[in-house]
């Protein structure tokens, strides 16, 4: 029925199968949209946030997807600025995943502000002393960059490409993509960093507070570094999931291994810096503020040293060790395990820097503030996942996302 829209040289499932899968993901999406409208019409009392605990579950999701979406800017940087030509075979998918991540992040922020009609205040009445203002500026601009990078892909649809204006526009946008990619890398450096900076400047929260360089705490640089290191792992993990679902090889191993190798070395250097940062914080910064490390990992039913181990060792050292060795990269099982561990590692890092920061008691009369999200928060956090699956399904079906697919899966 829709064969006229499907790219040349590839095979897709039947429209009925596609529509059923779309309906399942759509049902989850509608659940999230319902919860979103509850938050907008009834207010943030739909969440379990309170005056003590001001960051909902979705703020963790926001930071995590921004980090995971970092694969788009870093792969774009490698492809267009560093000239890694092999990455042209995965850059489309990296852009699509980045587009999904950043549009989801903006959607989450629109829910979080409670009054979306006043969303423009941050641009017009900007608080120029706030790192979050800078985050909002860069997120918005970088989302524009990702949209500009995604548009040529849409224009390459078989039917749209027949229109001369769109065909030429797509070509011309490709020809200046390096400018947009460089702008995106610049914007990403600052907003990823500022998200880390927000935690690092909280001098009233000794769990998050860090010293740094000039106005930037070390967390500023660690967040940018980790997004560049772990983002490509998420791109590669989603690529693998797509290959498993479609039962097709979509990207050649040399491309995957190249990106995995770069990501592995970025991760290895990041995790060394992170270990030094944690050691200095535990032995100098926190004691200077009257705390010892066990204060942050004891006397509660959830947060223990296990979370530090999960973030740094299992989610950092292990995947980095796998990906920097040729033997590890070439072994499909080990490589894919490294991608999953890396994604878990960066998500735990963002969880710790958002939710554990709020939970740790600061005053002598405080107790741990463990937080349980309401179903509306869970639904609005799952909403971007359903939205992402739907956009990937539609894009994969109708757009030439994977340039190597026809060669790897010849149609008889």
């Amino acid at each position: 029925m829709d064969s006229a829209l499907i790219p040349n040289g590839v095979r897709r499932c039947s429209i009925n199968k596609f529509m059923i899968a779309l309906a399942i993901a759509g049902a989850v999406l509608l659940w999230g949209v319902y919860a979103m409208f509850l938050c907008w019409f009834k207010g943030l009392n739909q969440t379990n946030m309170n005056d003590y605990y001001g960051f909902a579950l979705w703020i963790w999701a926001d930071l995590a997807i921004i980090a995971l979406g970092g694969g788009a800017f870093f792969t774009g940087f490698l492809r267009y600025i560093m000239g890694k030509d092999e990455l042209k075979n995965i850059i489309n998918y990296a852009v699509l995943i980045g587009f999904i991540c950043y549009s989801s992040a903006l959607l989450i922020l629109a829910i979080d502000i409670g009054q979306p009609l006043r969303g423009w205040f941050i641009f017009w009445h900007a608080n120029v002393h706030s790192m979050l203002t800078e985050v909002a500026f860069c997120l918005t601009c970088y989302f524009m960059v990702l949209t500009i990078e995604y548009i040529p892909l849409i224009l390459e649809n078989k039917q749209i490409d027949k229109v001369p204006f769109f065909h030429h526009l797509s070509h011309n946008m490709h020809s200046v993509m390096a400018v947009f990619a460089a702008t995106g890398a610049f914007l990403s450096f600052f907003h990823q960093g500022s998200l880390g900076g927000v935690a690092g400047v909280l001098f009233g929260r000794p769990f998050a507070f860090r010293e740094g360089l000039f106005i930037w705490p070390w967390t500023f640089f660690l967040f940018t570094w980790s997004a560049a290191a772990y983002g490509p792992c998420f791109t590669l993990m989603v690529t693998k999931i797509t290959e498993m679902v479609t039962k097709k090889k979509l990207v050649k191993d040399n491309v995957v291994e190249l990106l995995a190798k770069i990501s592995g070395w970025m991760m290895a250097t990041y995790i060394i810096a992170k270990i030094i940062d944690t050691y200095y914080w535990a032995n100098v910064t926190a004691p200077s503020l009257g705390f010892n490390i066990m204060h942050f990992y004891s006397n509660n039913s959830f947060y223990g040293l296990w979370i530090l181990f999960l973030e740094i060792i299992l989610g950092g050292v292990v995947p980095a060790a796998i990906l920097i060795t040729e033997k590890g990269r070439k072994n499909s099982l080990a490589r894919n395990t490294a991608f999953v561990l890396a994604v878990i590692g960066v998500c735990v890092n963002r969880w710790v820097m958002v939710l554990q920061v709020m939970a740790v008691p600061v005053m002598s009369f405080d107790t741990w503030a463990l937080y349980y999200p309401s179903w509306q928060e869970v639904a609005t956090t799952i909403l971007p996942v359903a939205y992402g699956i739907i956009l990937i399904m539609i894009s994969y079906r109708y757009l030439p996302i994977f340039p190597q697919e026809p060669e790897l899966n010849p149609v008889d």
Binding site: H129, E134, C141, E156, H168, L169, N172, F180
Partner: protein, 55 residues
């Protein structure tokens, strides 16, 4: 926010923050304007890129 808004102050924070935003928006705007104008010229000239690969 623009310099003619009542909240505007000529200090480094406003210049860096808002200047950075306008700078990024200008690059994106000029880039897209270039692409659209060049596309119109290409159509007028009848250029074809059909045989050239993208990505």
């Amino acid at each position: 926010m623009f310099p003619f808004n009542f909240e505007w102050i000529w200090d480094m924070s406003h210049i860096v923050f808002m200047g950075g935003l306008w700078y990024a928006l200008t690059i994106l705007g000029l880039g897209m304007t270039y692409c659209i104008i060049k596309t119109i010229f290409d159509i007028y000239k009848g250029d074809s890129h059909h045989d050239q690969g993208h990505h």
